[in-house]
Amino acid sequence: MKYVIIGNSTAGIGAVEGIRQIDQNGEITIISNEPFHTYSRPLISYSLRGKVSEENMCYRAADFYEKNNCKLLAGVSVTEVNADKKCISTDDGNSLPYDKLLVATGSSPFTPPFEGLDTVKNKFTFTTKADVERVGTLLTKKTNVLIIGAGLIGLKCAEGMLDKVSNITVVDLSPRILSSILDDHGAGLMQKHLEGKGINFKLSCGVKSFNNNTATFESGETYEFDILILAVGVRPNTDLLRDIAEIDKGIKVNAKSQTSAADIYAAGDCTLSTDISDGQSKIMALLPNAYMQGECAGINMAGGEKSFDKAIPMNAIGFCGLNIITAGNYTGETFEAKENNIYKRLFYGDNKLNGYIMIDEIQKAGIYTSLIRERTPLDTIDFALICEKPGLMAFSKKDRATKLGGEAS
């Protein structure tokens, strides 16, 4: 059996580990357009801060490819998938046959067509190791950084640069930071915390145009910068499967990570999957989901049986020492607890937990995540107790015995 995996990040690595659970001998080739050993993408901001070594940026041990008996073609781009002939072509002029193909091509930064953006010399996106290497060499204690986008990527970038530059200003169209994962109160707490660390924010603020090192906002105000970071968002890399498999906003896959094309699977940020907290189909470009979907693809590619049907949005992330954990969606009735920087808000309805936000005090958050993932009927647990404090005490004695005797489903 010949397996070809396009992408050497989380979903691709998950697939290798999935395949090897079932098939020890099949030939696995991983193709990556980045010339590196697999690395953890979220660690790029830690690397910029100098908080993680080159070695510890690796997502798997140095002998990973050898141990899993697979071949890595690094620094090579796939130019075409030929689903009829079951082969792929690469930019070094080679062609490679496959029996099972996994597309784990991830996502790419999306940049709106700002007027005058082409006149800005030092502009960067912030999603790859190469981005960090390029921008890192330019930072000095005199650098003035403008970041467009107060989302996860923009703020992680800000944190990574904070000790190395003179000034950081983050601009976002939204009236609050981290608008995809926080509500007003949570965003307010984090904004105040980050302002205390020296990061400036301009919210409800659109960028009108750029002219060299000057940004003009919709308000007419201008802003001088040395380095521009574009962190507006990412879009799934779906091009390789255009006209081959069904694509909506992302590549459509079923619970087995199969695309609509025979013997072609897809996993990770390039796919569209179903959020079981609200039943909606969406892009969930999140590392844990990418691993689990990739592993699921690998197991199925190798002839095993696996479903990945419990995807929910979930994030654990910290900025300058203040930690956030969130999961699910924010609809329904709420339970709230607030104290200084500590914040908890649970969202529930129709006898289910839909989502939650926890800031600062994040212990045992996974018990809430599990209620969302498993769609646990809330009338089977002591919901008032679990609202106050996540714990197994809220479950019936029988359920506790199952949980502590066995393991999570």
Binding site: S40, L287, N315, L392, L404
Partner: protein, 142 residues
Amino acid sequence: MKRIYVNEDWCLGCRLCEYYCAFAATDQKDMARALKGRKIIPNINIEEKDGISFAVNCRHCEEPLCKKACITGAISIADGVITIEKEKCVSCYTCILSCPYGAVSPSESGAVQKCELCENSPACVNGCPNGAIIFSEKEAAV
């Protein structure tokens, strides 16, 4: 594989397991001297309410959500035992987000911590005065 199982009917709620666990993480000889006046962060935790009590620690799941979710590759599994490579952990707490038992905790050192079975001789089991925590192949042995 041998795992730690708890019989809540026998648990006294004395929390000695928590102290034995925290003591095992020190390199000292005397428990009282090692832990006196310190806030302990044990890898086994007693939950207690209305006369019911039981201990919870890492289940060493066969499908460990913490390991699958770990963003750095710091969590690995060998012979069924799930361990954390502290040097690789950046304390993002994605494992805490993922663990359905609440068995992974932040630690004083920065990296997360959880039960790693004390090299197959768990201090909590050895120290439980009422045999409420056992180390065995099967749950049925409880």
